[in-house]
Amino acid sequence: MKQKHRSVVFQAILAAVRSHPFSAVSMIVSIIGCIVAGLIPPLLMEQIINQILDGNMDVMGLCILWITISIAGCILEACREGAIIITGQHVLYHLRSALLNKLKVLDTAYFDQHGAGEISSIIISDTDSAGTVFTGGIVSMVADACSLIGILFVIGVKSTGLFLLVVCVLPLVALYTRKVQKKMLVSQKENRQAVSESAAILPETRQTYETVYGYQAQPYMEKRFDRTIEKGYAALRHVSFYDAVYSPVIVTVSSLLTGVMMCLIAGVTGMTALFGVSAGTGVALMTYITKIFDPIESLGKEIQAIQEAQAAFCRLNDFMALPEKRTSDTAILPYTHQIEMSHVSFGYTDGQPVLHDFSMSVDKGQHIIVTGRTGSGKSTLFALMQGMYEPQSGMILVEGRNPYGLSEKDRRELFGVVEQKTALIEGNLRVQLTLHRLEIHDETLVSALRTVGLYDWYTGLPDGLDTEKDQLQLSDGQLQLLSIARAIVCNPRILLMDEMNASIDASTEQMVNQALQKVAEGRTVISIAHRRNVFENETVIDLQSIAQMHGFPYNLTEMR
């Protein structure tokens, strides 16, 4: 199970390495380089001191080497940071792209059940934490482990005695580190809980405004707020304590080590051989001792980061494992009507059919109005026609094709959709109309605006088609007109119009009706509406009566 969970992130890492091998390689090289460059200067210093003590003052060469390698270490460190950041960002990019690509093939039903906020948080925050774990967890864990081994190796070579001492102390320090970190985590969680409680009081205050103000309940509310703050504060005191105590203890332990080592070298005969034989070695070893506990602390943090990111990993993998749209055949069957639905049954959840054994056909150029009460399946009918869902049984053909398997290009040429609630998307006016279909020319857009009667409004805009969303300042009626314009920019053969809000005044309504009449010319139009008598020769389908006729095959041509 766990293996499977790593998979998306793992794939993203592979993809990042494959697409940018240079940054991955330079990351590894600079990490190794950094560790080596960190190990050498104390050894050189040892040499320098020993030489001086031997009376050999000609050590400037060694000194220059020390400076050069130290500086090289710094530069390598900068390179390492850069390489880790860049590789991490590549991984993040691939991870996000993978999720983005998944969106396109996900079944529409998924989006009915999950809110936009929930899904976007997977793509935004969960990838973020997975990316952080890659750089701050996996990579640095390897790097820290390597540098720990490196230091231990050098100590082992230089001084067997110190090596034995360190090996004895290291597990204790590691245990202490994990213990402190775990305790801190518990208190931090308590604090976070309290913080979210106090944050929850803010909207509550807003929602209970009349009571709080009217009853002068401010002191009461303040007391409640203070209680939550107090709770978080108590937890924070623990965090503060552990946070404050950790590092001093570590420094004390490493100083004790130094002291013990010095005493043993100096005080016990025979120990000199075991610990090292010169003052230079002593200085070098002191430097190593101060360095050896750093990786331990980092390793603890990294383990924690990886543990905390597990939940995000799970969500990412669950998301990637979601069922995808079936790829259906794209064959074109012979057809007699432009749209044919025969014996279609469909429901969002099992056992609750919205449409049952529903049949209808629409001919080219027909203008059809679908009516029926809320929940009678009007919008569902539209969604099925467009191939947003696949019917559980029965067949739908649009110009001989199964709409579920339509290519994006065919879809544009076939359908123009005016939605029930049009929302502006991110971007300028051009994007509002094209929805990022870059091949649509500006002239087409302007002529669409003219068709729906928005030309005057358009000419008054500060930056024309480049006017940003916030500056458009559309009234509800204008928004509907814009939505109609959006539907016709690809010159589709069929227009589907969901009922538009009734919250517009009479004169705007007239404009909307005019626009509808214009765009309906020469097209098949199916609309859900309270509004009638927009088109001449319109045919009305009442889904309510169909539902009552339950199971009765309904054919529009026969109705006529």
Binding site: I49, M57, V59, C63, I64, I67, C74, I75, E77, A78, G82, I85, I86, Q89, Y93, L100, F111, A116, S120, I123, S198, A199, A200, P203, E204, T208, E210, T211, G214, Q216, Q218, P219, E222, R224, E230, R237, S240, A244, S247, V251, S255, L256, G259, M262, C263, A266, G267, V277, A279, G282, M388, K409, D410, R412, F415, V417, A423, E426, L435, H436
Partner: protein, 558 residues
């Protein structure tokens, strides 16, 4: 409530913690000055080792030296522990106080301005407090750990050799100035990174929220292309900004290391001349390395200060402490309402030509169709909504503090039922519980849950009613109090209200008209204005009221 005079002054918060600040200063000085002893001690240890190996010193010397070393370490680290602890405590205190002041401000802000502070903005303000305090903590920490520590290192260096220190000491300030020069670049890179990240996130949200539109328009690939470009752009700019933040510090250290050339050159010369020994050389080198390490981090001090300032400026205007004033509710005898026109939105008038009169000891029932303006009238009568006309209570404008107002949807706090009724004011609540028929079934210490979700709607309504009765105010405006209470209980409660609370003025808005025949006055809202009378008179003369009553009878019959 706390008495803070100038809650909009950042320094006030810090000064309030002067006791901790004194402790921090003492421990901080011990720690950071003690730190400068380490290079010296380490040098001595090395020298002693060398002497022993050359048979110039005794083993005892080493033992004494190590003992001193360990004692110094213990003292210094103990001081360090307390300094760290106190700094964190101070930050926690300030954080708490700021949040309380912030909430105090929030809770005393009229709804019109308050409304702008929508949910996300509120929690961002809390986050700003956290960031601001974190900035203060870092600033205080860095003042000692960078400022004082550097100073004591430099003093030590000068004590060894001030000329050498003067020469080699050019490099750390050089690195520091370089760091300051880079700051602008770093900030602008960070701004760009944040922008590109915000844009990418926005596009993702948009992509998902508008997915049906994109899907049905057959342009998912095009949008994904666009989003992907934003991801790519974000990748580049975030990489740059992050590198600028973490990748530059090693470079500063490298600049400082250049100074080591002089240290080695002059140091070796001094040993040759017999002025220095190995202890001094190692101590000097160790000290110099620490100074350069500190330099590379000193930019953090300034960054922390700026960040805290920026956050503070954002929240500052919300940091006014308001003293709670308690209004003693007046007993009201008469309310006279005369309003030409009332509305939420000036372009859409809801009510007009309202002339009403209410008296102490009476119950008035107000009804009307859905969306006729009942809630607006309830808000006006409770003093919550400002209008152009006059709402006078015994000759002076009606204050909301004289009215107990039960809103349409009961407003329940996520707290115990007891606290929901008393709102923290002591007193005996058994009587009101009995009056609203809550006494037998409820555990007063039960938590009502978020928005009262642990209670039934009927229970919520009765808790709100109990709260209104408990408040002891003489005017009760109840907006649909019986919506989810069964008919029997409703009758019982109304009976109690009539008998036990006959010194109050009650105004009840309701759709349920079966009890309206017991009201002293009945008002029907019709076409945006009010028709007053009694149940009998309106039944006779007002078709609208008659229709409403008949409709309800039908519904009951069904």
């Amino acid at each position: 409530m706390q008495k803070t005079q100038k809650t909009d002054q950042l320094m006030q918060y810090v000064q309030k913690e002067w006791k901790l600040l004194v402790l921090i200063t003492i421990t901080g000085l011990i720690y950071n000055i003690g730190l400068a002893l380490f290079p010296y001690m380490e040098g001595q240890l090395a020298q002693c080792l060398s002497d022993i190996l050359n048979f110039q010193a005794d083993r005892k010397d080493m033992a004494v030296l190590v003992l001193i070393y360990i004692v110094v370490v213990l003292i210094v680290q103990l001081a360090r522990f307390f300094k760290r602890l106190f700094v964190r405590y101070m930050a926690n205190h300030i954080n708490r106080r700021m949040k309380l002041v912030l909430y105090n401000h929030l809770i005393h802000t009229p709804i019109s301005t308050f409304d702008l502070d929508a949910g996300s903005l509120l929690s961002r303000t809390l986050k700003d407090v956290d960031d601001c305090v974190e900035g203060i903590r870092k600033t205080v920490t860095e003042i000692f750990d960078t400022g004082i520590a550097m100073l004591s290192y430099v003093v030590t260096l000068c004590m060894y050799d001030w000329k050498l220190t003067l020469v080699a000491g050019i490099f750390p300030p050089l690195a520091f100035f370089f760091a300051q020069r880079m700051k602008k670049t770093v900030t602008s890179l960070e701004v760009q990174a944040r922008k590109s990240r915000d844009l990418a996130n926005q596009l993702v949200v948009d992509r998902i929220a508008s997915l049906p539109s994109y899907r049905s328009a057959g342009c998912e690939s095009n949008v994904d292309e666009h989003v992907s470009q934003a991801f790519d752009h974000m990748k580049t700019s975030v990489s740059k900004a992050q590198f600028a933040v973490v990748g530059i510090s090693p470079v500063y250290r490298a600049i400082c290391l250049l100074g080591m050339i002089f240290v080695f050159l002059i140091g070796i010369q001094r040993i040759q001349n017999g002025i220095w020994n190995i202890a001094v050389l190692t101590a000097y080198i160790s000290c110099y390395t620490r100074v350069s390490l500190k330099t590379s981090k000193s930019a953090a001090l300034f960054n922390a200060m700026t960040r805290s300032r920026v956050c503070w400026e954002r929240i500052r205007e919300k940091m006014h402490d308001v003293q709670d004033e308690t209004h003693v509710p007046h007993p009201i005898r008469n309310i006279d309402v005369s309003i030409p026109v009332a509305y939420y939105d000036p372009t859409i008038p809801v009510l007009h030509d309202i002339h009403l009169h209410f008296e102490k000891g009476t119950i008035t029932g107000i009804t009307g169709r859905v969306a006729c303006g009942k809630t607006l009238l309830a808000q006006i009568l409770s003093g919550m909504h400002e209008t152009q006309g006059s709402v006078m209570a015994d000759g002076s404008p009606l204050s909301m503090y004289d009215v107990a107002y039960c809103t349409n949807r009961p407003q329940i706090f996520n707290d115990t039922i007891l606290n929901n009724i008393t709102l923290g004011k002591d007193g005996d609540i058994q009587q009101v519980l009995q009056d609203v028929c809550l006494d037998q079934e409820t555990d007063l210490n039960q938590n009502a849950g978020e928005m009262g979700c642990h209670l039934s709607i009927g229970q919520q309504a009765r808790v709100a009613l109990a709260r209104a009765l408990y408040s002891g105010r003489s005017v009760l405006v109840l907006d649909d109090p019986f919506a989810s209470v069964d008919t029997q209980t409703q009758k019982q409660i109304l009976m109690t209200l009539k008998t036990r609370y006959n010194d109050r003025m009650m105004i009840i808005f309701s759709h349920r008209l079966d009890c309206f025949d017991r009201m002293d006055q009945v008002i029907c809202i019709q076409n945006g204005t009010c028709v007053c009378g009694t149940h009998a008179s309106l039944m006779e003369s007002n078709t609208e009221y008659r229709t409403l009553v008949q409709l309800q009878c039908e519904r009951v019959a069904v």
